[in-house]
């Protein structure tokens, strides 16, 4: 029997769903985003970009310059011309070498939008041969090898060996608010107001770029219209540009991209090629998994090494196997650098393993559901890195619940009957598919120890104020962190305030990424609340403040004692906790247009504890919609290293008409080191939909191994299948 979810003690705030704290401002239209802010003397910025994917910048010429035009080039950079992140390889502005199209070269600013747009700039570029084929690239920015057991022993024990190759394309984050910042020059530094996820990342980058001490680079996150990873590292670039213009002109500068520039120039999900070679016994048990992961990093390193890391750590899926080898490489090409996008490598590798599982079942002639039941991770099993899973390992409960809720077995039988007729009549074909997946919460391995995040609580006359750099980008940070603190203090939610993320006011609680805000930062805050409660004793806040003066309690990340990680050999506890999920998707294929219409989705996910069930379900629904579109619709067309469809008219993100009804169930298998048992929830929902969709297409008879499976591709397959049937 799998362990049952347990409920430690009755909760009064955690587990309820009050309206999100900034919700009233958002629905009233009074929430202020970057482009809504005005400053006296504000200039508008514009970026001039390279037109070739690789080459040398020889110079530039400018037509008529309107009065009051400010121009910045690489020569104006006071510090190091690099965006500080993992590697200092990416320049803030091209000096000579061009490594991708749409690379920033020059910056302009003017107070009048029309005057700014009228400036004609011609770049003199000497093109060189670009590497646009990731398979041909021999330049790798990161290689990772994971080895468990003995691969040849595993293959020797197998009855069958099943191989397959699976690929995924770019995906654009498509936050509805485009990238934007305002830089305000100060007496001795600069202040940035930005749409961003990680204030301290931006500060780190600007300190290097501007050669200023951190206290003179102030970063304030304003209301942010979505991120999905797209505002993790790129804001350092655009903030750098605005800051350079502001410092040179001595005036505030607003730089807000239009949709097309945002799509052309900013990071996207890494395209992937994943090869599987798997040994299986006749009964379906996996004896050996050899997995090769190749990611297209693009022209600069950005976050690719860590995306690759998360990718390989999830590449074997939530399955038990004693003999495993996973080799991951991230290769450089002359396309705009790829970066963080919800899921961060895991959606790519779990697409591959989950589609491959379906092909293994097919090769063995066994039920794919039974194959997953046989191999799903259970408490006490070990992952590819040898991490032993605790009682909160819920892969099987998720699978069984999704199968039950979706009536998977009955629906599958009914669909097969339907398709037998449809193949003859030419009517729409149907399919049902499932995917089992998992997702590690928090930074990988020793990442959280290195981050050493800090969070603080300040006592106020009426309650407490949360001080963290973790940002609200729509996912509900403000609300859930307040709930955690209120619950621990035993106070109503109304007594908790949240400070704006401003590097002058809040400690560095780490970046808002990696499904870590609730589980990691939430737990640090819960400990702050515990300390605050102890300090207060029986006093009210007012009494305490009158007697002792101000009180700020700060706590730091505390590694669970049992957690160990060897970064050299990639062995040990890769993540503090894993969430698990199972998606079932039923779809229909239009016989004329070859459009695939998802008809019904069941998403069951274990997130440890839903601090706010409505917001948590919102994460699952939104992530699922993005995942379905990743499989079926969102195609980035690259031509000569440049996105050819950089607009919403032909890059198809899901509208209400494309999005099926979703049935969401949240399971709670608590994690001992998360606040009230919570694990992460932000990223996991995007791991499952793409393989579930492709497995449903397989059920309908279509052999898809590459996504996005846009209608043009489906049409050819449907035609050839009908040809074979008649």
């Amino acid at each position: 029997m799998p362990p049952r979810p347990r409920r430690p003690r009755p909760l009064s705030v955690v587990g309820t769903s009050p309206p999100r704290l900034e919700g009233a401002a958002k629905v009233a239209g009074t929430a202020r985003y970057v482009d809504d802010l005005e400053f006296p003397g504000l200039l508008l910025g514009r970026t001039i970009r390279s037109t070739v994917p690789r080459g040398e910048l020889l110079g530039w010429s400018m037509g008529r310059r309107p009065r009051g035009l400010h121009v910045v080039s690489a020569a104006d950079i006071p510090g190091r011309n690099a965006i500080a992140l993992l590697e200092p390889d990416q320049p803030c502005l091209v000096r000579r070498e061009i490594r991708h199209a749409a690379e920033p070269v020059l910056l302009l600013a003017h107070e009048d939008r029309d005057a700014l747009a009228s400036v004609a700039v011609e770049l003199r570029e000497r093109p060189r041969k670009a590497q646009l084929d990731v398979r041909a690239s021999r330049s790798f920015c990161k290689e990772i090898l994971i080895e468990k057991g003995n691969l040849s022993r595993g293959f020797a024990r197998a009855d069958r060996i099943v191989e397959g190759e699976y690929t995924t394309g770019h995906q654009e984050q498509l936050y509805v608010e485009t990238q934007g910042v305002i830089a305000v020059p100060e007496k001795d530094g600069v202040t940035i107001y930005g749409s961003l996820q990680c204030p301290y990342y931006v500060q780190k980058a600007l300190v290097e770029l501007l050669s200023l001490p951190p206290e003179r680079v102030r970063i304030i996150q304003v209301e942010t219209g979505g991120g999905f990873g797209g505002k993790e590292e790129y804001p350092s670039m655009i903030a750098g540009h605005a800051a350079l213009l502001a410092l040179k002109s001595g005036r505030p500068v607003k730089l807000v991209y239009d949709r097309s520039e945002d799509m052309l120039a900013t990071t996207k999900r890494h395209p992937s090629i994943v090869r599987h070679k798997t040994g299986v016994r006749r009964d379906g048990s996996l004896t050996a998994m050899q997995i090769d992961v190749l990611l297209d990093a693009g022209a600069y390193v950005t976050l690719s090494p860590v995306v690759l890391s998360r990718g390989v750590l999830h590449a074997a899926g939530p399955y038990r196997c004693e003999d495993v080898q996973i080799l991951g490489r991230a290769a450089m090409t002359n396309t705009p650098p790829n970066g963080a996008f919800r899921g961060f490598g895991a959606p790519q590798t779990q697409f591959a393993v989950e589609v491959h599982m379906e092909r293994i079942a097919e090769a063995l002639g066994i039920d794919p559901l039974e194959l997953r039941r046989r191999n799903a991770l259970r408490p006490g099993d070990t992952t590819a890195t040898g991490q032993r899973l605790g009682a909160d390992c819920s892969a099987l409960p998720c699978l069984e619940s999704a199968v039950r809720r979706s009536r998977f077995v009955a629906r599958r039988r009914a669909i097969e009957k339907h398709n037998a007729k449809a193949r003859v009549s030419g009517g729409p074909l149907r399919g049902i598919g499932l995917a089992l997946f998992f997702h590690g919460s928090g930074f990988t391995g020793a990442g959280e120890v290195k981050l050493a995040s800090r969070a603080a609580l300040e006592l106020t006359p009426t309650g407490a104020r949360i001080l963290v750099a973790s940002t609200e980008i729509g996912q509900g940070t403000r609300t859930i962190l307040s709930q955690i603190v209120a619950e621990e203090l035993g106070w109503p939610l109304s007594r908790i305030e949240v400070a704006d993320p401003d590097t002058r006011e809040v400690p560095d609680s780490g970046p808002t990424v990696a499904s870590r805000t609730c589980m990691i930062v939430g737990e640090i805050l819960r400990r702050c609340a515990q300390s605050l409660k102890r300090a207060l004793g029986r006093m009210t806040p007012r009494q305490y403040l009158a007697k002792n003066g101000p009180l700020v309690v700060t706590e730091q990340y505390d590694r669970p004692k049992s957690m160990h990680w060897d970064d050299v050999h990639y062995r040990g506890d890769a993540y503090g906790a894993y969430g698990y999920g199972c998606d079932v998707i039923e779809l229909e294929i239009d016989p004329v247009t070859a459009e695939v219409r998802p008809a019904e989705v069941t998403a069951v996910q274990d997130i440890g504890r839903a601090i706010h069930p409505v917001l948590a379900a919102g994460q699952i629904e939104g992530g699922t919609a993005q995942g379905i579109a990743f499989a079926l619709a969102e195609e980035v067309v690259m031509r000569d290293g440049r996105m050819a469809n950089a607009q919403l008219t032909n890059y198809a993100v899901p509208t209400p008409l494309d999005t099926p009804p979703m049935q969401v169930e949240i399971l709670e298998f608590p994690y001992g080191h998360g606040p009230f048992g919570a694990k992460g929830v932000g990223e996991m929902p995007i791991d499952g939909p793409s393989p579930a969709v492709v497995n449903a297409l397989r059920h309908a008879g279509l052999d898809i191994r590459d996504i996005p499976a846009v209608p043009e591709r489906i049409a050819g397959l449907v035609d050839s299948m009908r040809g074979a049937a008649t």
Binding site: A24, K26, V27, G618, E621, T655
Partner: protein, 176 residues
């Protein structure tokens, strides 16, 4: 650059504005009147963030020339609530989790208010159809349907608040 003088009625107030002939309703409400609740998401009629009401009808602010709406009643998100009293749609969006990042929210709310003033009891298909020109990247739309249902139910039990809005349907001026 040549400018034209327009007389506009926005949220019940009269304004005289001098703008480029190519200025859109979105340009005027955001840049001239500083009504920044209306958002610019794509500026080419694909996302619906800039939806406003023109004579009670949902229109895309980025594809509607300001010169076209002279003599019309333009309403933006700022006029949806009465004083501090949120419109039932606004309360329902906040309560149901239908607003996440909030950037598309004003556009959805204006589209939905046009729908409900014309069709107090919309079918699920009518709702889907009405909002099909608006994009949300956060929610997957599920919670929006709940919110719209809840608001519609509440509005049916209350007297209509906006009888002056001649209520016609959905988005014009191009939708995807």
């Amino acid at each position: 650059m040549r400018k034209i003088l327009l007389r506009l009625r926005v949220n019940g107030a009269h304004h005289e504005v001098a703008v480029r002939p190519s200025a859109t309703v979105l340009d005027v409400v955001r840049d001239t009147l500083h009504l920044t609740g209306t958002k610019r998401g794509c500026d080419m009629g694909t996302c619906g963030c800039c939806t406003v009401l023109v004579d009670g009808r949902a229109r895309l602010g980025c594809l509607t020339l300001a010169a076209e709406v002279e003599g019309c009643e333009v309403r933006t998100i700022e006029s949806l609530r009465e004083g501090e009293q949120l419109h039932p749609l606004q309360s329902a969006f906040a309560e149901c989790g239908a607003a996440q990042c909030g950037f598309c929210t004003p556009g959805f709310l204006m589209t939905c208010s046009a729908l409900l003033s014309r069709t107090p009891t919309p079918t699920p298909e009518q709702v889907k159809d009405a909002i099909s020109g608006n994009l949300c990247r956060c929610t997957g739309y599920t919670k929006m349907y709940e919110a719209i249902d809840r608001a519609a139910a509440q509005m049916r039990t209350e007297p209509a608040r906006e009888p002056e809005l001649s209520s016609r349907e959905a988005v014009s001026g191009g939708s995807r």
